[in-house]
Symmetry: C2
Subunit: 219 residues, 2 copies
Amino acid sequence: MEKRVGVLLSGCGVFDGTEIHEAVITLLMLDRAGATAVCMAPDIDQHHVINHLTQEETGEKRNVLVESARIARGDIKAVKDIKASDLDALIMPGGFGAVKNLSDFAFKGADATVNAEVKRILNEMVSMNKPVGALCIAPATLTKALADKQHPEITIGNDMGTSAALEAMGGRHFECTVEMAHVDKVNKIVTTPAYMLGPGIKDIAKGIEKLVDEVLSLI
Amino acid sequence: MEKRVGVLLSGCGVFDGTEIHEAVITLLMLDRAGATAVCMAPDIDQHHVINHLTQEETGEKRNVLVESARIARGDIKAVKDIKASDLDALIMPGGFGAVKNLSDFAFKGADATVNAEVKRILNEMVSMNKPVGALCIAPATLTKALADKQHPEITIGNDMGTSAALEAMGGRHFECTVEMAHVDKVNKIVTTPAYMLGPGIKDIAKGIEKLVDEVLSLI
């Protein structure tokens, strides 16, 4: 049976949505491994829209599900329509959208609130003992979502401020290099720093490939 | 000396801009091969904006350079600021943007007009005997842009209607499978069908890797 892996998106673009390279490389590595990606995103407005050329806010309104559909070539569902029983595993790519749209960690740090549907699907996955992977800054939203239930080992690389905020939310931070993934075998949580470290697309691809392999092996 | 390869984008999303998977895999393969990607796009409005969830037009206005910047993580220039002498080669990913924004081939077929700056940079490349790669439907815009100068061998896979339009514009179409790239050694033009054939991201990645290798070997 083909493994079905949710890919939880948060828009389309590093500064206000999903980091595009991380999402596409996740989809590539899943397909190469023979797994089926099930793309999903919450059907909510983005926190804001950033012009990626100037890094300024544009004042536009865009919807997270609609913009995420660009990465998924239209093959995507609202998170509310997905249950953990539909999936064997779930992966969250990074980008600021993961902490601006899926939660407000980018603005509130350890006091963040996680989107209710995102919190629901992540907790369902963990309750069913199904593996969850998170890239880049996405472990922040994951840690907060699971805080009532578990205190996973996670990595976002080596940034002191961010790792302190993760520990304040109940995570146990481990330093990690970009070409590696940190595996919490007990909680079945796999994380990799990706563009929290960079420096380039070939570097993050190594860590994402490891993460996908580890997530699939934990199913 | 590191090879500098232009990556000519046309927005961000398969239905109204650059096909995101094709662009990201092009960037990945260039980085793995030790080449530097120089992302660029014309500073013009998109022909239209398509909601990628419903495939309907939204009526919004978006700029091709600004949206392309999402794929390039902000590291992108306007085509008008790039000369062929800055580059060793150039690659055009596909997606409808390549034939809606870089030209109007999607609407006018063989009677298409190519954006003036896009036509200029492509003709400069060819005049300097520098290789050009094109993915998916992008060979249509490339063929039209070069029609006064050369009649390259190109592929868009095996679609009869599209290949007939390419031949009407002076191209010589060769059938090709998704995991391969067609090489015109005389004109230094390399093309691969990518999502003109699909079916999946791992399949198009094979052809794009071949295309990148062939383009770099022609420098």
